[in-house]
Amino acid sequence: MASSGADYAVWLRGIEKQFPGVIACAGADLRVRPGTIHALLGENGAGKTTMVNVLAGVYRPDAGEVWVNGQQHQFQSPADAIAAGVGMVYQEFRLVPTLTVAENIVLGAAPGLLRTAEIVERVAELSAAYGMAADPTRPVWQLSMGERQRVEILKSLWRNASVLVMDEPTAVLTPGEAAELGSTLRAMAEEGRSVIYISHKLDQVVAFCDEATVLRQGKTAATVDNLQDVDLTKLAEMMVGTSGGGNVDRPPPRDRGPEVLSLQNIGSLNDRGLPALIDINMTVHSGEIVGIVGVSGNGQKELAEVITGLRRPTQGRVALKEQDVTGASPGDRYRLGLAYVPEDRLGVGLAPKMSVVDNAVVRSYKSQRRGLMLVMDRCVEFCQILVERFGVRVGRLNDPIAGLSGGNLQRLLLGRELAEQPAVLVAAQPTRGLDVQGVAAIQSHLVEQRANGVGVLLISEDLDELQALSDVLLVMYEGRVVGEYPPDVTPRSILGSAMAGNPPT
């Protein structure tokens, strides 16, 4: 084991990074050998993006060392990281649509005098050398997503990056383009460059990558030196792993009540217009927690949105308390008893710039009216009751909620959703990113709601949590439910296989 970074293309050592209310990295390590494709794995919020942003000079770590090609660096800006040989390809491409391929590639790194013909020629040589077909003279807006990604990669190569970071690169690609990407990356690795590859698609990770680091809760949970020796099941298990969560006592089994939510033959598309849900059938009964297991990106988000009315299904039927709500608006569904704790709390459930009171009454403002006016006293009172009942720690109720910590935001959001006693609660990643206390508080509220007869659909990436709280587990893989398991007696290995798309028969 080397004691300095000299042997590694990248060595991030003991990285700590804290944001208000969230510990993103708590001493995580990442070691990447030269000439390898290294998978960086972990559930959402595990710290992957923070780690690569530290490497790219976007964030400065609170503690820890950054070594690139045997030299220690303290990046002050992304420009420093680029100069040190780090290339970053973000999920959202950073290209100027009206400029040509060549112009985008040299943007910010052009030789003093712009000799267009020469640049075009050199860009063409570069793309040929790596087998990436890209016409340097075409404007970027005309290109497909796969071609734009090639331009991003060429941008890094133009700057002579020795380390290329790719965040979820195949999410926008067709299967054919993904395979091409694989061979491009391999060609780069054979030249001695290194690639850090962030993805949730385990089959591609195994196909493309040599080694892997698994992050969990901001720490390095496992490293794999040779991915060929590890099977998908094992990898899926490592990723979701254990959180030490699920510290709530398993509620005693109870008789299921009547059916409160059912999905029949639901199909739906994702934001890119590709199938996200395929023939989903499931039911949730009063007084049970149905846990959705799966590696993120397998349709969980779309599932929650179809149920809550934020996304239109392409086929099938959604029923709430045996009433067809397939065409009903999100507001109508709420009034029928469907509460929703969304995954993206600040983006979908809350309005960060508005006050605590304004956020507390998102669901109930209509009942705080007298004539046209909102009765502010009643809104404040309603908010105070929520704050007390759910133990939300707040400053002034009229301050923007953006200042609240993650745990308190979630308490407020959950409290608001439960205020009018729903029949069904859809909770997507309700404990993600929270501290231990926050996790315990939210989990015990879920259990309490189950006891009150609420049917809960719990979407989570934390297997411990799912196994501790759920009455039944459904495993999702590539938009389908591939298995249904009792939570307490199913071994991890079986769940892992199902999550990797191979449910044991």
Binding site: P20, P330, G331, D344, M354, V362, L372
Partner: protein, 370 residues
């Protein structure tokens, strides 16, 4: 390297707003000293004249209010759309459309008694502004076409239509060949208050109060603010975004149209292509100074109106109109910069240990592998 970054304030305190405002304007006036000195004027005299002519004495106040009235109405129009994150930058044109329709009504109903005729003209003004806004509003709410461009483009259409009316169909036969439209009927003049101020000021004040309350205290206003602040959360709460966009823009256009009718029945004597006089565009600055809050528009409009009146009167001291314009622009610039500090404060960051990006949005975390 130590460098300043802007950090969003947790809490907006009225006292800091006042301080920032005064400091901003003071800084502009201080810079203006150089301008006045180098152009050979006595700054003390110029500033004194500027202030006195705008704010000291009833005549001065009346002149400022006369200016502030259309600014307050167009500022309100921009702010109502702005409360939802929309940009109506075509208030200038809607103002003209409102005045045009009001004139048309006055021509056909000139037998009505004064108060009734004025009321009808004001309603017609609202309708005119809304009609001009209808296209941009529908295009925005149903097709997602940027309202910024469409509202701006229609400004020129509205002004050209008035020019055409002036030289063609509505040309006053009694004008001895001049291309002007006949004056509005005698009885359709808003009663004066004092000096040059008229009842239009009270109409503007009333509307400001109504809309301040509507935006901050009604369920409708709550929905508007929620939709502007966080569209996805609004959808989640069951609010129809396209309907909200449509109503916010139409109201905005209607208020600007009303500004046209009030100007027509107030300070102006007839519809002419110069009637809007830049008030609609200035309304954008007024709304920005008011941070898009209807409650702040009154103060911003009076400050803006006062600066205009003061800027004009210093020309009697021999200050050229160009220098006067630069000075006015500097003062408004100072006030606008100050407005940034209503919501943000400066923090100095050291080189080590501190993050470049300060507030990691949850979106960052959620973006991981989503």
């Amino acid at each position: 390297m130590i460098r300043p970054i802007l950090v969003r304030r947790d809490r907006v305190v009225p006292a800091t707003q006042a301080v920032a405002f005064v400091v901003g304007i003071a800084a502009a006036l201080a810079l203006g000293l150089i301008l006045l000195w180098t152009s050979g004027h006595n700054p003390a005299e110029v500033y004194e004249r500027m202030f006195d002519s705008a704010f000291v004495g009833t005549d001065s106040l009346a002149r400022t209010l006369e200016r502030a009235t259309p600014l307050a109405l167009t500022g309100l129009a921009v702010a109502v759309a702005g409360s939802m994150g929309l940009w109506n930058i075509g208030a200038e044109g809607q103002m003209m459309a409102g005045a045009t329709v009001a004139t048309g009504v006055a021509m056909t109903a000139d037998g009505l008694p004064g108060p009734l005729l004025i009321a009808v003209m004001v309603v017609a003004g609202v309708a005119g502004g809304m009609v001009l806004m209808l296209g941009p509003a529908l295009a925005r709410s149903h097709l997602g076409v940027s309202e910024i461009i469409t509202t701006l483009m229609l400004v020129y259409v509205a002004i050209r239509v008035v020019e055409w009316l002036e030289t063609g169909p509505w040309k006053d036969p009694a004008s001895h060949g001049f291309a002007v439209i006949e004056p509005v009927p005698e009885q359709a003049s808003l009663p004066g208050l004092f000096g040059r101020a008229n009842v239009g000021t009270l109409i503007a004040l009333g509307l400001l109060i109504v809309f301040s309350l509507a935006v901050s205290r009604t369920a409708w206003g709550y929905e508007l603010r929620l939709s502007g602040s966080s569209p996805n959360t609004a959808r989640y709460a069951g609010i129809s975004l396209s309907r909200k966009v449509l109503t916010a823009l139409l109201l905005s256009g209607g208020i600007a149209g009303l500004a046209g009718a009030v100007q027509l029945t107030g300070s102006a004597t007839r519809l002419e292509s110069g009637l809007s006089n830049g008030y609609g565009f200035a309304g954008i600055i007024v709304a920005a100074l008011a941070l898009m809050r209807p409650s702040g528009v009154a103060v911003a409009a009076v400050v803006f109106g006062g600066v205009q009146v003061g800027g004009q009167s210093i020309q009697t001291l021999g200050v050229s109109s160009a220098i006067s314009d630069i000075l006015q622009a500097m003062i408004l610039f100072g006030a606008l910069v100050a407005a940034v500090f209503f919501n943000y404060r400066v923090r100095w960051t050291g080189p080590a240990g501190e993050s470049l990006v300060d507030e990691p949005e949850e979106a960052d975390m959620a973006a991981e592998g989503a």
